[in-house]
């Protein structure tokens, strides 16, 4: 947390091009995420949000461009070189991607066991603590992922993502497929994690409520580039048709009214 303050950007993407065959996904995408902020990436289905996320976390190689995480260029790193970076970020996948043969707590402690030299007892306790931090009941840690509800599985996935106390957390659709009550629980959770642990969070989401309630800054991706970037209030004043459609569609308006009422 300390050395974060000395770097000016946690994540810096410049001029990124991605292509699948002849289909251009990203045509010059650029954005910057500052330390300690909750940054959201939005856009219509198939506009390349998840592809961008996968490029940042080194699961996919873009054609050209630059992605700097903690001031270090990540493109072209091999696995050994990427390891120190991978330890400093946590990823929560859209469908959880929990290891189905391990209990929730083992899912968390497995990450700790791989990367630290904690004693067995401390390992179990820290894993249980991570499970508790995500708001899961204490007994949920001993269950297998298949025995959990959708919302609990998301929380369990989050517990694994924060296992190593990452400085940067990537969340892919943290509220997708959840009921409104669980989703608002995730809202609170994301914000409280940032406040308590000083994380920087980058999330990909469609959830307008989540955007109004927790995102500090939002980037709208479309037509292969960033169409607009700023706070939700700033974005809602922009005139780009795609952005206007996004924010002034029926659901967008309802979420905005909700957000105003809360304030």
């Amino acid at each position: 947390m300390e050395q974060l303050k000395h770097t000016d950007a946690v994540l810096d993407i410049r001029d990124l091009h991605t292509r699948f065959g002849n289909n251009v996904v990203h045509d010059s995408v650029g954005l910057t995420v500052r330390p300690g902020e909750i940054f959201a990436l939005v856009g219509g289905s198939g506009c390349g949000k998840s592809t961008l996320l996968r490029a940042i976390i080194l699961l996919q190689r873009p054609v050209s461009g630059s992605i700097r995480v903690f001031g270090r260029e990540v493109l072209g790193l091999n696995d050994d070189e990427a390891l120190p970076l991978r330890r400093r970020w946590g990823v929560m996948f859209e469908r959880g991607a929990l290891f189905s043969s391990l209990t929730v707590q083992e899912n968390v402690s497995m990450v700790l066991r791989e990367h630290t030299r904690l004693s067995g007892r401390l390992l179990d306790e820290v894993a249980a603590l991570k499970v508790a931090l995500t708001g899961l009941p204490a007994d949920a840690g001993f269950k297998y992922p298949s025995e959990l509800s959708g919302g609990m599985r998301k929380r369990a996935a989050l517990a694994r993502a924060i296992a190593l106390d990452p400085e940067l957390l990537f969340l892919d659709e943290p509220t997708a497929g959840l009921d409104p009550f669980s989703a608002s629980g995730i809202d609170e959770l994301v914000r409280s994690l940032r406040d308590a642990l000083g994380l920087t969070i980058m999330m990909v989401t469609h959830d307008l409520d989540l955007l109004w309630r927790v995102a500090d800054r939002v980037a709208v991706l479309g037509e292969g580039r960033i169409l607009g970037i700023g706070t939700m209030t700033e974005l809602s004043r922009m005139d780009h048709p795609v952005i206007r459609e996004y924010f002034y569609g029926p659901r967008g308006r309802a979420a905005q009214e909700q957000a105003w009422k809360k304030k």
Partner: protein, 385 residues
């Protein structure tokens, strides 16, 4: 007394203990410092444990020098304070940065399950009982599955429009046609090996011509059907189990049921029918390539030319020998398809389970195929075929 306990890349996490004996109740002062983060706290733990053995009623934990604290470090600190307090010591913490205090409060407020619940290990008798019960119910489940398949087959025969021809053709392609190269190659090699092994013995007796009987009968009656069935069990039986198992994990089987399509009708029956058609054909192909392998070997080692070999072949191998080999294939096919599909449906929840049931399906179908082959031998012997 000072020691650096753990080193991290940036700053070491350390613990300094000073005992102030001059005060009336002895006061222990613990100075903590450095980065209390997950990478550097491993050795701090043992050191903190040793603290509890010390005397001293009043404890002061000074965290002024702590430069970084993450949840793991905070947990360690929290646990140490908690354990000291449980021993009736009086603990005061000071000097922590406000954000670290917030983190400690957050951790103290969460219910953490520290005791791992271990289910009591069942005794020997319980385990034997459970195992035999599982095996027994497994057999009755398998029989129920066979019965269900038979019912669906009967219904499909009465209403032929319900038969999924496309699925059958697709399965014929993948399980039959695409298996031709591997079945052909292995059977050819098997023919070569048998002729090669037999050649030496036959030459001793000058009975070269009987190589035809040896290769023909052993390939057509036993080896070709068995070899083909084993290859297909490994190739297609496992694929059936894995496919249906994965569909079960992703709830596709449930989806089929809700759409009103029976999974047996759509997934199982076409596989059984396709394999029942494909396996005899594959066996025939194996017969041909196997005998051809034997023929090549007979010519080069025993000077039995192709024409002589084929002349003798008609006398040596009767039609009933050929038919008894081919006739076994549909039975083997039904066993392989049924076991593969059944094991697929036994998958529960996890990726692990898919792997386990796939293994079981291959082992079980090969076992049952060999068992059935032995039964066939006994029956054919009775019937003098």
């Amino acid at each position: 007394m000072a020691s650096i306990v753990a080193m991290t890349d940036e700053q070491p996490a350390y613990l300094l203990i000073e005992t102030d004996a001059s005060a009336a109740p002895a006061t222990v002062r613990v100075r903590c410092g450095g980065g209390w983060v997950v990478q550097g706290i491993a050795q701090l733990e043992a050191r903190l444990e040793s603290l509890f053995l010390r005397g001293g009623q009043d404890w002061v934990i000074d965290g002024t020098a702590i430069t970084a604290l993450d949840t793991s470090g905070a947990w360690l600190l929290h646990r140490a304070v908690h354990e000291l307090e449980q021993r009736g010591r009086h603990v005061v913490m000071n000097g922590l940065r406000p954000e670290f205090v917030t983190l400690l409060h957050l951790i103290a407020s969460r219910p953490v399950a520290t005791a791992i619940v271990h289910a009591s290990k069942p005794g020997m008798l319980t385990r034997i009982g459970r195992y035999s019960w599982r095996s027994m119910t497994g057999v009755s489940d398998m029989l129920a599955f066979v019965g269900e398949c038979a019912l669906v087959l009967l219904r499909s025969l009465i209403q032929p429009h319900r038969i999924r021809w496309r699925a059958i053709l697709h399965n014929l392609q993948t399980a039959g046609f695409e298996a031709l190269p591997i079945v052909g190659l292995l059977s050819f090699l098997m023919g070569v090996v048998i002729a090669y092994q037999g050649a030496d013995q036959l030459q001793h007796f000058g009975a070269n011509i009987f190589i035809v009987d040896l290769v023909g009968l052993s390939m057509l009656r036993e080896l070709a059907p068995l070899l083909t069935a084993i290859i297909v069990a490994g190739r297609s039986g496992s694929a059936y189990a894995a496919q249906i198992g994965t569909m079960k994990v992703t709830e596709e089987i449930d989806a089929l049921r809700t759409i009103g399509v029976g999974p047996t009708e759509l997934l199982v029956l076409p596989k059984i029918l396709a394999l029942v058609i494909a396996l005899p054909l594959l066996t025939l192909f194996a017969d041909v390539t196997g005998v051809f392998g034997g023929m090549l070997m007979a010519r080069s080692k025993l000077d039995v030319g192709f024409d002589v070999f084929l002349d003798r072949f008609g006398d040596a191998v009767s039609l009933s020998s050929f038919m008894s080999g081919i006739g076994k294939a549909p039975v083997f096919a039904a066993i392989i398809a049924l076991v593969g599909c059944y094991q697929g449906f036994q998958v529960t929840g996890s990726a692990d389970s898919v792997g386990r049931q796939t293994t079981v399906s291959v082992v079980q179908s090969i076992f049952l195929v060999i068992l059935a082959d032995a039964l066939f031998s006994v029956v054919f012997n009775w019937l003098n075929i």
